[in-house]
Symmetry: C2
């Protein structure tokens, strides 16, 4: 890979650029973003140049789409007119089924590889980008079986994922979406629901709360700018996860006896500890 | 106050002792705990001496009960035999109605003042104690109207609460319990329920999760040793809080449309931001 074009130079796209540089990438990194973002990305030495989308698509070996999900889906249609044979389009969208489906209808087999780096920060934008954002974090890849043809750029891309310290995990797109509905979208909605409930209630106004409430509502600060697309493109699995969570809470209500609740605490602590051992 | 006896020299009791010292308390601080805890508390210079409960109760101006809730209730009965006129018993239990009720049946008016410092750490035990634990945190006091007689020790105790940097908030015991059901017990159970749900599911085993899941299950590590007593002594308000949370999640499920969910995100973000401005 000699030239990489990053569409959407925010936290994820900017961090990918910085991570590549730190890992020894010596080719050119182009940015496709708003003029203001390009200016800041250039000031921060995140990209080498800002270029129009068509120029980027025609000249890059790897096109990295780190935009909001619905914007990625729009970009795919544009790119399909311009992309050169042998180059690879990948994305960093948080849901995969719709993106992979759209890509399959537009690109030649092997020309698209869906991805989802499981990394993030509270702060957003290129200013929050950091070279170590992906280190030790899962990086899901969702190749489509029927397009798993020999593509040297895809192999090279996967080797860069390892070089930036991320852990590639290959999954079917639908399987990915179902997993993240439980492991990412449900925690977000659990926090949002807690904060939305309390917003309408008198109790917190007393000022009587501890650090636990502050922690529990941290995710509730998340912007709907990002989450709107995620929720709209993973509706079925998210509703299943929400209904399972409601059922679990009803178990608590219906059997609020010390022995039963103690078993729930034990299961919960076992799970929470296991995340910390493997995560 | 010349002599303070701390029953249960753990995170809270130990931190109260260290905080008093830092704030300039020059009297004697006695500890009533297991021999092992007393040894460690002495090593860490948290207390001046470990003494039997009866000796502590007979000699202290202020008796500070920082034990588990049900143990506090037991201690109250013991203390009522030994306590001297003019001295004050207070506690740091996380629920107040049962404790205050028990104390009212045992002590002379003005001899007991319920308290709940809204501070904590993940680590427990006297080793985790720190002088600044209460700084900037609410410290709820639950005087009973009928016992609000003139007690110089109570006034002095409240002035020490301010000196250690905490913010006294006076509440009725039942009101306190209802508030913390929503602001403390519900966040705990929301995290426990999320982790207990995921413990039985295949999705997290894939390793596909981000920092959000780790954060969301931090409270799920909490020990049932502490929570068993809290849940057992605040059952009604907690069930009400849980049922309100279930109803809010069902709102999400029943109206999972972008505009409705966006309104929930906005309310949630507004609430989460307000906590961070005032907390």
């Amino acid at each position: 890979m000699r030239t990489i074009a990053i569409f959407g130079v925010g936290l994820i796209g900017g961090s990918f650029a910085l991570a590549l540089r730190k890992a020894g990438f010596t080719g050119r990194i182009l940015g496709v973003s708003s003029p203001d973002t390009i200016r800041r990305a250039l000031e921060l030495n995140v990209i080498d140049a800002g270029v129009p989308a068509e120029d980027a698509a025609r000249s890059a070996d790897l096109i990295y789409l780190s935009q909001p999900i619905l914007r990625i889906i729009e970009s795919l249609a544009e790119l399909s007119q311009w992309i050169q044979p042998g180059s690879l389009v990948t994305d960093a969208g948080s849901t995969k089924s719709l993106i992979v489906e759209q890509a399959a209808s537009l690109f030649a087999p092997g020309q698209f590889l869906g991805g989802h780096p499981m990394a993030g920060r509270e702060r957003r934008g290129v200013e929050a980008a950091e070279a170590d954002l992906f280190r030790g974090r899962p990086y899901v890849l969702t190749p489509q079986p029927r397009t798993q043809v020999e593509n040297p750029t895809a192999r090279e891309f996967e080797s860069w994922i390892r070089k930036i310290g991320a852990v590639p995990i290959v999954l079917d797109a639908a399987e990915h979406d179902r997993i993240v509905a439980f492991t990412s979208h449900l925690p977000q909605l659990a926090s949002t629901a807690l904060a939305a409930l309390l917003e309408g209630r008198p109790e917190p106004a007393s000022g009587v709360f501890g650090p636990a409430l502050v922690d529990s509502t941290r995710l509730a600060l998340s912007s709907f700018d990002i989450w709107g697309d995620i929720l709209a493109t993973n509706r079925g699995p998210i509703l299943e996860a929400l209904r399972n969570y409601v059922a679990k809470l009803e178990e608590f209500c219906n059997d609020f006896e010390p022995a039963a609740i103690e078993r729930q605490f034990e299961r919960a602590a076992k799970f929470a500890a296991s995340l910390r051992n493997t995560g």
